[in-house]
């Protein structure tokens, strides 16, 4: 128990944002403050979900982790490296794999294995090493059998797993996924989320998942809620979803089970706080 606690304490902040502000079109008349004084930290090996309505600044935040955008003021550190230091740019990008929403628009080569090799090639890895990395990345997303396929012949879920493989082939410590399942059917969504979960669990890759699906958010260790460019709430999925009222006020949903529990409680039923799974709800009702 004590050892476990010590390990918890030792886990370092992998990403740390300090008073991060981002302004689009700075100095022009259509200036827009997309991030407003955001401070947060994400630990090594953590699985974090970022929630928020459209335009709340989630993607903008994600792009700072990878130095695709630079802060107007404030700082962002990745593994102790300042993202505004140009000399560290490629180190940082190699440390953070990114997966975007549209699977079609992030696959570069016309053959799966060539696409997965794209990142390692860019950082100048030796050919023999690239081959190893490509093979293990494809194995990690369970797509070894498709290495010589043309991407346009794959399903959405498979394409997104190839995109994940392409990101982890550079051997990053952290994977940032910006609505990776938004364009997928339920089957594809399941595939991608179980892959992500597995990467977090088996390869201890830090995961930052941006999503609009509350059941996905429930998988995370911690949920960060954003609204109008600010971090407004932070906590375990249980804590976040037990407060259904303020989530609704921000225009966000909670998982169906949490919603049912909340309404029942509202009607005066005797139900404990923080119910997340069907099983817990059934147990609470059938006591």
């Amino acid at each position: 128990m004590l050892r476990h606690l010590l390990i918890e304490v030792e886990r370092l902040d992998f990403i740390r944002c300090e008073n991060l502000t981002h302004i689009y079109n700075q100095g022009m008349e259509n200036e827009y403050k997309a991030l407003d004084n955001v401070s947060l930290s994400i630990k090594e090996g953590e699985f974090v979900t970022i929630l928020g309505t459209n335009g709340s600044g989630k993607s903008t935040l994600a792009k700072h982790f990878n130095a695709l955008l630079q802060p107007a003021s404030g700082k962002c550190f990745v593994g102790g490296r300042d993202t505004s230091d140009e000399k560290l740019l490629w180190d940082i990008r190699q440390q953070i794999g990114m997966v975007f929403q549209n699977p079609d628009n992030q696959i570069i080569a016309a053959i799966v294995e060539d696409d997965v090799a794209f990142g390692p090639e860019n950082i100048g890895m030796k050919p023999s090493l690239i081959k190893e990395h490509v093979a293990s990345a494809l194995a990690a997303v369970d797509m070894e059998d498709y290495r010589s396929f043309a991407p346009h012949l794959l399903s959405g879920g498979q394409k997104q797993r190839i995109a994940i493989a392409g990101a982890i082939a550079m051997n990053p410590q952290c994977l940032v996924l910006d609505e990776p399942t938004a364009m997928l059917d339920p089957q594809g969504r399941l595939e991608v989320m179980s892959t992500v979960k597995q990467l977090n669990h088996d390869h201890s890759i830090t995961i930052i998942n941006i999503t609009h699906f509350m059941d996905e958010a429930a998988l995370a260790d911690r949920v960060i809620v954003m609204d109008k460019g600010k971090v407004v709430k932070e906590g375990t999925p249980r804590e976040i979803f037990s407060d259904a009222i303020s989530m609704k006020r921000m225009g966000l949903d909670v998982p169906v089970v949490a919603e049912v529990a909340f309404r029942l409680k509202d009607r005066g039923e005797n139900i404990p706080e923080g119910i997340m799974t069907t099983e817990e709800l059934v147990n609470a009702l059938c006591q």
């Binding site: 695709l68 990008r93 570069i108 860019n122 690239i130 081959k131």
Partner: protein, 267 residues
């Protein structure tokens, strides 16, 4: 179906021609083309025709399929043939109006047509036996020396790679847009040529908008994956000139000397 179109003409296989290094193939093809243009005399033509047929047989592809690649320029060949037939001075075969057909013209016309056919079959043999990606890589490598004078060899190859990747996606998208417009009552298949050309506007506009959005997304995705141009970049699949390629180069050298000898002797 638009979406089932294959890319390029590549036919996978394991023949000698398939296994050769694509750079060697491109350079040999180039020399081959030059040789065909320089050679003269029936002996040389016979030799080159035999060699080309031999290569087709060796590639394991069907001769008919290769010959079909000549079809698009059939009219040009026919035209060249007729011009030569009538315009070469010599012994008369027949006279049509003011034009005279000659035996020499028949001979020249035949050789020139054969020359064109050899050119086309040899180049399509390259396309049939080399995957588009190998071709792109090979071109980048061959053009590398030109980088010193500012030629964007890497950028060109990257553009071709991306084009190869996105052609099927954009074809699929065109298909979708066309269906969507048809659902709204657009009729693409009737009317005058001008009307039909106008019909393309509602297809092309959404297609271009989406292509630009894709390009934007792709640029960000590439940057996120550490892309910073060709410098310092390695390749997973390195092209390698092997024993096989040296044998082929040696054979080719022998062939060229043979041709030179034939031309010198005037055969």
């Amino acid at each position: 179906m638009l979406t089932e179109m294959t890319l390029g003409q590549f036919m996978p296989g394991a023949s000698l021609l398939h296994r050769m290094d694509p750079r060697v193939k491109i350079i040999l093809l180039f020399l081959y083309v030059v040789a065909i243009f320089l050679m003269d005399g029936h002996g040389s033509y016979a030799l080159m025709t035999a060699v080309t047929l031999g290569l087709i047989l060796m590639s394991g592809l069907s001769v008919i399929m290769i010959l079909k690649s000549v079809r698009p320029i059939m009219w040009i060949i026919l035209f060249t043939f007729i011009i030569h037939l009538f315009s070469t001075p010599g012994e008369e075969i027949a006279k049509i109006l003011a034009f005279t057909m000659t035996w020499e013209g028949l001979d020249r016309g035949f050789l020139i047509s054969l020359r064109l056919i050899l050119l086309i079959t040899a180049s399509s043999l390259l396309m049939y036996t080399t995957s588009p990606l190998a071709l792109t890589d090979a071109l980048e490598d061959i053009l590398k020396p030109l980088k010193k004078v500012g030629f964007p060899a890497h950028e060109l190859a990257m553009m071709m790679t991306i084009a190869l990747r996105f052609i099927p996606t954009l074809i699929e998208e065109t298909d979708k847009i066309m269906k969507a417009q048809q659902c709204r009552g657009t009729d693409f298949s009737s009317g005058s040529l001008i009307r039909r050309a106008k019909m393309l506007v509602p297809i092309l506009v959404p297609l271009f908008i989406s292509a630009f959005r894709r390009a934007d997304d792709l640029a960000i995705a590439m940057e996120a994956r550490c892309y910073r141009g060709g410098t310092g970049r390695t390749r997973m699949k390195r092209l390698k000139v092997g024993k096989l390629d040296y044998y082929c180069i040696a054979c080719f050298a022998v062939l060229l000397s043979g041709l030179a000898a034939l031309t010198y002797l005037g055969i």
